[in-house]
């Protein structure tokens, strides 16, 4: 089963359509890494809205994608994890540690845009997020 990968400007969007076998996951990983290199993409979104189960292998694949594309200068964000899925995953001990996550495609794009935009100095502290109200900024709590 092929996962369609869309190029949207500097970003790649991979939309998982349904349940993927391990082989499918591996293929998606290969494809994304290759395309990030080819297009010099700055960000990758993996949309798992249609996915019903994210087990340990799937999580590992997602972490691999984040790592390997990270080496090539791209940020990865996983979007569309269902509430039930999130619950199951943390109970299973899978928290996708080190991988960015956002609610949906819109949020994911906002995240990538914020990350890849050249930062404008805003006040003295580098972590200062005060300023004109701007929905869509996603700063996570300290890890």
């Amino acid at each position: 089963m092929d996962v369609p990968v869309l190029k949207q400007g500097p970003f790649l969007i991979a939309t998982v359509q349904s349940a993927l076998t391990d082989a499918d996951l591996a293929q998606m990983r290969r494809l994304l890494i290759e395309q990030v290199g080819k297009f010099r993409s700055r960000g990758v979104i993996v949309d798992v809205t249609a996915v019903d189960v994210l087990d340990s292998y799937a999580c590992r694949t997602l972490r691999d994608i984040a790592h390997m594309t990270g080496f090539r200068g791209a940020a990865t964000v996983i979007v569309g994890i269902h509430p039930e899925l999130a619950f199951t995953m943390v109970q299973l001990g899978l928290s996708l540690e080190g991988v960015a996550t956002a609610l949906d495609l819109e949020e994911g794009l906002a995240y990538l845009n914020a990350r890849t935009r050249p930062t404008i100095a805003r006040g003295n502290s580098p972590r200062n997020s005060a300023g004109p109200p701007r929905n869509g900024t996603h700063t996570r709590g300290k890890r």
């Binding site: 349940a19 076998t21 391990d22 340990s56 292998y57 999580c59 590992r60 199951t88 109970q91």
Partner: protein, 134 residues
Amino acid sequence: MASAERIGIRSDRDILLARQRGRELGRAVGFVATDLTLIATAISELARNIVLYAREGVIELRLVTEDSHRGLVIVARDHGPGIVDVNRAMQDGYSTSGGLGLGLPGVKRLMDGFEIHSRAGRGTTVQIAKWLRT
């Protein structure tokens, strides 16, 4: 009435099949969406262990619909190399780097019942159960 199903596990495609069937049977029992996801995920983990370590095995799904309790019992059985140190495999942190299989402590957390028997060189049987909360 009891109902049982056996699914041969040999490839990663079978992992998908097993968890889909698990989800469907779980729905027949009456589990809510969250529990169905738990069940499907647990089956996925067990089936993957079979494929990774034993190369082939079986997943049995048993519907339990007695008046006093309803639920799903899942048995993952293989005649592979077996787990040498079961206690260690059941410790958190061991192989929770994920994707390398096992992940048994996680599965135990997800389910209501968990039993494992393994003999080095003989194979492994894992039995898990999820009961409908009344």
